[in-house]
Symmetry: C2
Subunit: 320 residues, 2 copies
């Protein structure tokens, strides 16, 4: 009896990605001896074709993005990558080349970030492809970064640049002129793992920005039970994003509410600013101080270039 | 700033399911201190609307089936349930009552099987709903049941009854007359956790049957590098399945190739048969001896009532 197609497909594309504990993907489950003396950090994110990636995105970047949006959750907790499980619901008739590229992308990022696949499931769907990944990381006990913990007076920091992901989507959809940097930022987020680890014991609160900076800042406020003031003028922008804002300042609040940033948003005591900047240099990850926390109600206030509070129609992305 | 709809939905339906380590589902990831002295067992299974469940299945049973197909993987490894992560891709406009029922089903089975949710993601899809669950269980180190390990001469056993799941699907699709037992067997598989745990150190190899008994037996043969003979006449059948076979014997091989059984298929030394039967009694789980393992090539041979080898067109279910 030869292998039925589903299992041949798993053997060909996914078995080479399997690591310790995966039992070659040929048992009912994986077996993991937890690394001694560490806590596990676990997160799961799904991506849907046409929602989180475009049908004509290269399959390599689809695989890498699936892994990276989950790695970004580990970064937000200050955790180190360990392994992952993945389920893929794909349309029948998905070309073998697509799967090959998807697996090649996963393989590349497994090497880059040091983790491997433990298990999963491959099924068919009649509709949009659904990719789901559960990631496991490790962190020393009691040292994980959390969303709660910011204090009034703390600085508000963000890593990298904001708004490139939403601009990259606009580029790929033809709503903006071609721009390789922006397209890459949409397709290949940079999980800030080194910075996240360096912020352990230094940041008082942290999260990753994935659904729009302002909406996500609202989560940080609610978790900590305090307010925050965000200065739009301090938003770190990539050169193409800055050029857009220079030509039309109304882009600025839109960048602060677009999704797909996958940057770290965090709080730190003002006296720790030099240590934050040192962590930034040590990890090669840009950071910018974009506001501060306040006593007040648990919500984000956004100020424009003149320091006036502005009201935005929409803080960020919601699926429903 | 009030909660955007996606987060309100998570807070309302899924936060009540969260347990230790889930951080109230309000951080970027969950934190788990692994139970000391135990290995973790991890598996992930996805269900797609219209493929693994019917659009008009009650949402309660959809949630419970999602959990149970994963619990069945733990049972196959002899593991005890610990926790799970889940991603749901649902169509916009899914009625709130559907989600309420889905979460109620999960809550019921969390209580029944003793586990809780750690985290996940809720996104929108334009197509068929995709539900993905990653389950974590525990097993004493070195004691997990595995697919490899059967020896020639070992008995081949199966739990419960075979074929009810596929018959239940036929009932629900109107291809067979109404039958509550069969419909329930399709919608609510019984993960054989107690039997799986009792088989540790007793079964030489085990797996769960989900894609069709004969196809899955092929996996057991390949994993162990040995052959198996399956006696169709020994197949354990529920009363409605037996009635169908009585009226039309051609049903029998179809039951052995249908999917959705979620029973345990395992190997044990013939001299351990009394201990297997004792484990069956102790756990209240019926078992039946349905064949034996042979040296020969790594494939399953199926025999009819007269002991003649039969060839079946299709061993079981494949998605592709």
């Amino acid at each position: 009896m030869s292998l039925p197609p589903e299992f041949a497909l798993i053997a060909r594309h996914f078995r080479p990605l399997a690591g310790e504990g995966a039992l070659d993907l040929s048992d009912d489950a994986a077996l993991l001896s937890p690394p001694p003396g560490l806590d596990l950090v676990l997160a799961a994110d799904a991506m849907v074709e046409g929602v989180h990636y475009l049908p004509d995105d290269p399959p390599e970047t689809v695989g890498r993005k699936l892994l990276r949006v989950n790695l970004s959750d580990l970064a937000a907790m200050g955790a180190a990558p360990l392994a992952y499980l993945m389920t893929t619901a794909l349309q029948r008739g998905t070309p073998p080349g697509w799967l090959e590229g998807f697996a090649a992308g996963l393989a590349a990022d497994q090497r880059e970030f040091g983790l491997h696949v433990l298990g999963g499931d491959t099924v068919a769907t009649s509709g949009a492809a659904c990719l789901s990944l559960t990631i496991l990381g490790t962190v020393p006990p009691g040292r994980a970064l959390r969303r709660a913990g910011a204090l009034p007076g703390d600085d508000l920091w963000v890593s990298g640049t904001i708004g490139d992901g939403m601009l990259g989507l606009a580029v790929l959809q033809g709503r903006l002129p071609p721009d390789d940097h922006l397209a890459r930022r949409y397709r290949l987020p940079e999980p800030r793992l080194a910075l996240g680890a360096a912020l352990r014991g230094l940041a008082r609160a942290a999260m990753d920005v994935s659904d729009g900076l302002i909406q996500d800042l609202g989560h940080l406020c609610r978790a900590g039970g305090l307010g925050a003031v965000l200065d739009l003028a301090a938003l770190p922008l990539s050169p193409p994003a800055a050029a857009l804002v220079g030509a039309d300042p109304s882009w600025l609040p839109r960048l602060a509410t677009g999704g797909d940033d996958y940057e770290l948003l965090f709080a730190a005591a003002p006296e720790d600013a030099p240590r934050i900047l040192a962590a930034s240099r040590a990890t090669g990850t840009a950071v910018a101080r974009i506001g501060h926390f306040t006593p007040g109600p648990a919500e984000a206030t956004v100020r424009d270039h003149d320091g006036r509070a502005v009201t935005l129609p929409r803080g960020g992305w919601s699926h429903f």
